[in-house]
């Protein structure tokens, strides 16, 4: 564990202690620290804004109500929160197995192009966004989780295995397999699209 990570864990532990002692600001600090990345995780797994927001709220609600049960010696708060969220995401895609497509994508509502952006650039960006979303959705849920946790969240294999509830070797092979499948499905449309997405952000 790096020194920076250890320091970050110590900070989080201190905030948790304050929150458990009744300091409401502590809860807000925990939310600020993890909400954005947790939302991105949920969105990348479900590709649906509304579902991602619902799961974000449910996960924090559950975590804050059960904060006393959290044991920082067993896992980091981030891993714990991600485990809660991934479990809820699994329930959601089991429920919506056949229609995991964001209606906002169909309507083009999620594409927040800057006002000065030319229509052509906006179109390219939309294509790039859609290609990567589609490639992710084409993966099986377990491979998608592994890829998103590894490349989207920068987690270690050990953390991925904790969140996914599988052995570390399984997490490694899922990342490897997901990587190969993504490469295969994204390369026919060209690495240029991926490049466009990177440029857009």
């Amino acid at each position: 564990m790096t020194e920076m990570r250890r320091q970050s864990h110590a900070e989080v532990d201190a905030i948790i202690e304050r929150a458990l002692a009744g300091d409401q600001v502590g809860y807000a600090e925990l939310y600020d620290r993890f909400a954005a990345s947790l939302y991105r995780l949920c969105y990348s797994l479900l590709m649906n804004e509304q579902d991602a927001e619902d799961i974000l709220q449910e996960s924090f609600l559950y975590a804050f109500k059960n904060l006393r049960r959290f044991d920082s010696r067993k896992a980091s708060l981030k891993t714990w929160l991600y485990t809660i969220a991934v479990s809820r995401c699994r329930n959601t895609y089991r429920r919506k197995r056949f229609h995991l497509v964001d209606i906002t994508q169909w309507l083009g509502l999620e594409l927040k192009a800057p006002p000065a952006e030319a229509p052509e650039a906006s179109l390219i960006r939309r294509d790039a966004n859609e290609s990567i979303s589609k490639a992710l959705l084409d993966l099986s849920p377990r491979l998608r989780e592994a890829i998103v946790l590894r490349y989207g969240q920068g987690m270690t294999y050990r953390e991925i295995s904790e969140v996914m509830g599988c052995p570390q070797k399984t997490a490694e092979s899922r990342v490897r397999l997901g990587h190969q499948r993504l490469k295969k499905s994204l390369q026919p449309v060209g690495a240029g699209l991926l490049e466009e997405l990177l440029r857009a952000h």
């Binding site: 966004n129 890829i147 991926l194």
Partner: protein, 164 residues
Amino acid sequence: MARFVSGDLSEAARRRVGRFIDECEDCRREYLRHREFAQKLERSLPALGAPRPQRLDELWTSLQRELQAPASQSSWLGEFAASNRSQISYGLVILAIAMALLLPLALGFHTSLSQVDLPRLPQLVNIETTPDTLSAEAPLIVATAQPSFRGGAPVLQNTPASSL
């Protein structure tokens, strides 16, 4: 190659593959392509689904309301429903199907009961003598009510008076 790029190999295996990549031109090209793709994923995926800060603030406000709500039966019920949503929905579907199957039976229950032929009790009927025009061997005809399992009016039979 994938394991080499993602750093899954042991130190010894890593060294072996590294030497191999250095010596083989095609392998080196493949390795560079693979590494480039991994780096692109590391840069592009975190950008996917970046939330609007204003929306996160709104969600925090609504989360605070939920947290401050008094702990009641409905709250744990809500939590249970949230964590077991799929099981509950499957259960509801099964319940709906069961009700749909049972409803016609329940509605038609009384009708079907009324259609069941129940044995009727014998009824008293007036005994009348037959007219004198009948033969002497059977001077008297008595009508008696017989229980019937088919329902409807009791069956009247002619019975000689001597047998009563």
